[in-house]
Symmetry: C2
């Protein structure tokens, strides 16, 4: 078993040199490195060690309450004591007021150490952002301090049995009840819908306030404890048995006239929820990156140690000295480096503030590329270990199982492909992407290929038919950008030879699912 080591050098290199974080006035490399070092130590020492037992024990539903596996509560308490839940909350609410780049660093490390626990705790920054953007002062005062301290963990309640990718089918209802609202209905696939590590849970619930498709949806704050101090009418009716993420309880929930507050405008729930969802999508991209990096770590470590076969001169070989194994390791490394670079570039664009159109285009792109990169890397990593990769004890099979969900949740990848083709190919976000391709100076061939595919998509009678091909072309263009940016800063990496090996690989057009 290869202990988890946070890929901190790679992350800092990616933020600073590849994604060019210094463009952001507030960026302080040394400070980032310092925070990163602290979080890496915590992740390696406290978060990663409970990942295996979490996978084995799984969650239990006992008397209507969810119990997480051994060690989760203790780890979470230490996490709160160190102040991590409030990393992005404003100082006035007890937070550290850090930006998305610092969060990208800790979030990726967390996911690499323990994807399940990152799922349970990871929606807090998105909830904080949603409250800051849409909450009243009273709501901010009521909820932000306890989110920042870790006393409260947030959930996101969207999906229903008949409303998965299509939110217009949501039937969960909210009716006014004085200054409050009452929510009734069923939600499914709610990560951390209940748990026993935080005192309180704040559910962000999308519910119907009128029969008007998605325009009849509003967003609600539904805390586990009512204003009168009694327990709210929110019940977990079942937890799912899943292939992976065993320590993250996936809950079926019944809201039975639960007390809730409207956040944002009535009928504008989707807009408010998108703040949370877009945060979550960037986070999911980083989960993919984290799995790719972890797969690389396990496989590369194994390949250095394992004696296998012989070199052409007849002497004993280490596994990693075989051409095809070396190639596979470099391919995994590329997935991690390229996925991280793209995601960090999207985050830098987001922090710059005036690049909303570009961020809109990059969000589905990084979600799709990074999640599939994580899956592919776990698959390749298992292959490097051979038969041992299929065994539980080497733990890369857990990476394989855990990574699989990332291409499904936060918008199945097919939905993102469809959005890119139907909503963006014609509009300003594709213009912004094209502008970036021009500024980055990728090769003319690659540029023309993307432009032609964009035109075909935009002019197609049903652009959805072009969804897969347009995503392929867009990812390939983005890979060209990353290739160029990495080439320009190879020497800034502590191990430039590793980067050079990745850049020298045969170009691999993205096929995707």
């Amino acid at each position: 078993m290869t202990p988890f080591v946070a890929p901190l050098d790679d992350i800092l290199f990616s933020l600073h040199h590849v994604a060019r974080a210094p463009l952001i006035a507030a960026w302080d490399h040394d400070f980032a490195a310092e925070i990163g070092k602290h979080f890496a130590a915590f992740a390696e020492g406290e978060i990663a060690p409970i990942d295996e037992i979490g996978d084995q024990e799984g969650c239990r539903l006992e008397n209507g309450r969810v119990r997480l596996p051994s060690g989760c509560k203790e780890m979470y308490t230490a996490y709160c004591d160190q102040g991590w839940p409030g990393l992005t909350a404003p100082g006035e609410f007890g937070g550290q007021a850090q930006d998305a780049l610092i969060l990208a660093m800790t979030s990726e490390i967390f996911s690499g150490a323990n994807h399940s626990m990152q799922m349970v705790t990871g929606l807090v920054p998105g909830a904080i952002r949603t409250l800051l953007n849409f909450g009243t002062d009273a709501q901010k005062d009521r909820f932000l301090p306890s989110l920042a301290s870790g006393e409260t963990i947030a959930t996101m309640c969207l999906t229903e049995p008949s409303a998965g990718s299509d939110l217009s089918r949501i039937t969960c209802r909210a009716v006014p009840d004085g200054a409050q609202w009452q929510i009734s209905g069923e939600k499914i696939f709610i990560s951390g819908g209940d748990q026993d590590i935080s005192d309180e849970i704040l559910h962000l619930v999308l519910a119907r306030t009128s029969d008007n498709g998605v325009k009849g949806l509003s967003l609600f704050l539904c805390p586990s404890t009512k204003t009168d101090g009694t327990r709210n009418a929110v019940k977990v009716t079942r937890i799912e048995e899943k292939m992976g993420l065993h320590a993250s309880p996936t809950c079926q929930m019944l809201f039975d006239g639960a007390e809730a507050e409207l956040i944002g405008e009535e009928g504008r729930g989707l807009a408010a929820m998108f703040t949370m969802m877009n945060h979550a999508r960037g986070d999911v991209a980083l989960q993919g990156v984290a799995h790719a990096a972890r797969a690389y770590q396990i496989a590369a470590t194994y390949a250095v140690d394992r004696v296998q076969g012989r070199l052409s001169d007849g002497s004993s070989a280490r596994l990693g000295q075989h051409a095809d194994v070396r190639r596979i390791l470099d391919v995994i490394d590329r997935y991690a480096l390229f996925g991280r670079a793209m995601t960090h570039m999207a985050f830098v664009a987001m922090e710059l503030g005036d690049q909303g159109a570009l961020v809109e285009f990059l969000t589905p792109l990084i979600k799709v590329f990074c999640t599939e990169a994580g899956m592919r890397s776990a698959e390749l990593g298992i292959q490097v270990l051979g038969g041992y990769g299929f065994l539980r004890e080497y733990r890369i099979e857990q990476t394989y199982r855990d990574a699989r969900i990332t291409a499904i949740y936060e918008g199945a990848n097919g939905i993102h492909k469809r959005m890119l083709a139907t909503r963006m190919a014609q509009g300003p976000s594709a213009d912004a992407f094209e502008q970036m391709l021009l500024e980055e100076g990728i090769e003319a061939d690659a540029l023309v290929k993307w432009q032609s595919m964009r035109a075909q998509t935009a002019n197609h009678a049903d652009p959805a038919e072009m969804a897969h091909r347009f995503m392929q072309a867009s990812i390939d263009a983005m890979q060209a950008v990353v290739h160029k940016r990495l080439s320009d800063c190879v020497e800034a990496h502590p191990d430039p030879d590793r980067i050079r090996r990745v850049l020298a690989l045969d170009p691999e057009p993205w096929r995707g699912m």
Copy 2:
């Protein structure tokens, strides 16, 4: 949960029309259909229903003996009563004397119904073939009847802790002991190394008779019961905890001076073992095909029923009506159809008897293509089901877990790629493949591409460096052959529209791991 239905029509179409089984004098389509119908009914009614409980219960090691999950013994007894173990054994030993094509049909159906149990029982035909090719008359008389009746199940004992892909490192020793031999040493990753469904087990063990690399290896027959009727000194010391194939016990075994008979010549163990291994490799290719077909079945059934989103006219859509979902289903279908076609073509070539060079080239190719096709299909199938695909109850996650091992065992795919490049690119088997490409009349472009890659590989200072690219080019050429053959017989399929949809997909060059 979608009940398993054997893809019998597809299999018969593939054997008869695509792979052109009528070239073989003994082929009788109606008889094959009749046998297929019987086996399909047995697989659907008896083998498939214990697949889920097998996955959940797993195997146990109790007092040195392995216990399979509930229902395995009863299923195996019925399997023997119907005479399936002896399908390919000669009539004089109690068998049905059927050929590799009939076996390809039952074997694929078995793997689709229950990969684990197919693993436990599936080496018998290879052992029968090995005994027929290398055994003495006494050995045939002693072992063939009980293999044909099912009283005995065979295992293949190759791998050791330090000898995985590299058999020259085998240290397990055999020393003469009168007319018998004694085997001592450790073997790992032995599928069905012990079980409680057959009375006897016959281990085919590769052991060292001299210190001369692979030339010091000999093959032995090592039965679980000695000639004096007492239990042989073969002990299971541990069973592995794996990601999948939970009902197939993967055993670590200790041979402690176990009584054994030499089969074939001393020092020629590898040659004898290759009979068994080549059979197993074709079988593994069919496991990949079976997983692809099963993934298609589960995903296509789900996509027909599930209401999701809307069509462009605003009406409710079924999942399968969305362009990208339809594309994914067709891609899965293509993996199954193409993989099955290639494998059947290799089997027809084998049965024709004078095409050994072609079979040698096709064996690594089908092993690699079909196993990765099975993995990719399970991955895509999960995606079609969305969140439900990640849940145990829809059972496609089991396909995903079980399929993963196929790219590893029976020669990791990287080893097959390496063999193709280093041992075949220059020789007669590549000539035979080229000859076939010419005869099949694939497009000039595709042909030239393969020829050029072959020349690059053959002339490379270290052909192993070209392994991945040469396999890619060879599989793409083979895909062109299959595309052509399918195009020529579309109308012979009961659902020609389905085949046409697959043939109309964007061509997908094989990337592979």
